[in-house]
């Protein structure tokens, strides 16, 4: 889980991320206009699963729960947060009209510790609660992923996966060991997805372009994942940490590919819908990136700052 940067205050603005779930379009516009006064970033998701996924990847400084969620969904979300040792630290503000028989009002003891209820949209209340969450009150500071320190102890590990979703989830987890998780996540996702689609599933560059243009990319991935010989193939990720380097060795079971021409952005391919992942990974995430012939193993390294 990636912890967001500490909220900071300066020049009258606050930095931090507010996540909105269950807000209809009109409410979200009002929320965004209100929070712009503080300078806070705001993201929006539609439902409870999306909110939990988002929060696991990037815990916000505050969660706003809107009235477009049903009462049951709202309560289920709050219980999920309460039961998560990290997410229960995120302040939550629920905005909706309530009647006396509202299940939440009869279950106050089961709510997360920093839960605020507002019976209607009130920009003043919203501003004051958000400001309280962002300004650095220790009890409302965004949660720090204690996992980061645990992962610092990890010296070597090996993982295998098959699907794009598994690639994404593993990349998020592995990025937590890195000094700049958001950069590392992007690089790892790009290399790991390449290993699935171009490596194990043997989708060529030209074929991927065609699939992007006609909208059939995800369907073709799903089809090949069920098809011999691709169905039994796995991507292997080996992680190694030494004193000054993090090394990720990503191996697929495909025949390899002509990797040389994808290390840099190519102006001749600037309007193609694909073909930028490796160059992006190399430029954004890694200190060093190299392929082993015939191109089905990539080794990506991140240099570590010397320890004090």
């Amino acid at each position: 889980m990636t912890a967001p940067p500490e909220p900071t205050e300066g020049n009258g603005t606050l930095r931090g991320l507010v996540l909105s779930v269950g807000a209809d379009d009109a409410s979200f516009v009002r929320i965004r206009e209100t929070l712009q006064k503080l300078g806070a970033d705001i993201a929006r998701v539609e439902d409870v699963p999306a909110a939990l996924n988002y929060m696991c990847a990037q815990p916000p400084s505050l969660l706003l729960v809107g009235a477009a969620l049903s009462n049951d969904c709202e309560l289920a979300l709050l219980h999920k947060l309460r039961d998560d040792s990290l997410l229960r630290q995120v302040p939550v503000m629920c905005q909706r009209p309530r009647t006396e028989d509202d299940p939440l009002l009869n279950d106050l003891d089961s709510l997360p510790p920093h839960c605020y209820l507002s019976s209607a949209f009130d920009s003043v209340v919203l501003l004051s609660v958000v400001r309280g969450a962002l300004v650095g009150n220790p009890s409302h500071a965004p949660p720090v992923a204690s996992g980061a320190s645990r992962f610092e102890l990890l010296r070597e590990a090996r993982f295998t996966f098959r699907t794009l979703l598994e690639a994404q989830e593993l990349a998020v987890e592995l990025s937590r060991v890195c000094p700049e998780p958001s950069r590392a996540e992007l690089g790892l996702v790009e290399l790991m997805i390449n290993a699935v689609e171009h490596g194990n599933l043997e989708i060529s560059y030209e074929h991927k372009s065609m699939l992007c243009w006609n909208g059939g990319w995800r369907a073709e991935i799903a089809r090949r994942l069920q098809l011999a010989p691709y169905a039994s193939r796995e991507v292997s990720v080996r992680f190694l940490r030494d004193r000054d380097t993090l090394r990720f060795e990503i191996s697929d079971e495909g025949p390899g590919f002509a990797w040389h021409k994808f290390l840099d952005f190519d102006p001749d391919r600037s309007l193609d819908p694909n073909g930028r992942g490796i160059a992006l990974a190399r430029n954004v995430a890694f200190t060093r990136l190299r392929y082993r012939e015939p191109g089905n193993v990539v080794v990506a390294e991140i240099a570590l700052e010397p320890r004090q």
């Binding site: 998701v45 994404q168 996702v189 160059a279 992006l280």
Partner: protein
């Protein structure tokens, strides 16, 4: 990720992408593109976008291809990781570009 769109009083179409804009968004983004009027300008608003990957870059090129005229598209409110990725990939030269970084 959520993609929402509306048209303002000047007829400019705004496409707002909230949260992560990545390979998992192909279907939603393509659906959003299909609703756009090719004769009007489009602003893709990254103000609430927290993350993009190379697949998102590809989707922007699908939009460019759909609209036909690159002058009709502007990428707006780019900041943070999305701004960094868009610039590294030279998309600030391929599209109208408005950074808040």
């Amino acid at each position: 990720m959520s993609v929402t769109s509306n048209t303002d009083q000047y007829g400019i179409q705004h496409v707002m992408i909230s949260g992560r804009f990545d390979f998992s968004c192909h279907r939603d983004f393509r659906a959003a593109i299909a609703t756009l009027n090719k004769a009007s300008k489009v602003v893709v608003d990254f103000g609430t976008t927290t993350y993009i990957d190379s697949a998102a870059l590809g989707m922007l090129l699908l939009l460019r291809d759909y609209m036909g005229d690159v002058r009709s598209i502007r990428l707006a409110n780019c900041k943070g990781q999305p701004d960094q990725v868009l610039r590294i990939a030279n998309f600030h030269r391929l599209f109208g570009y408005d950074s808040t970084a």
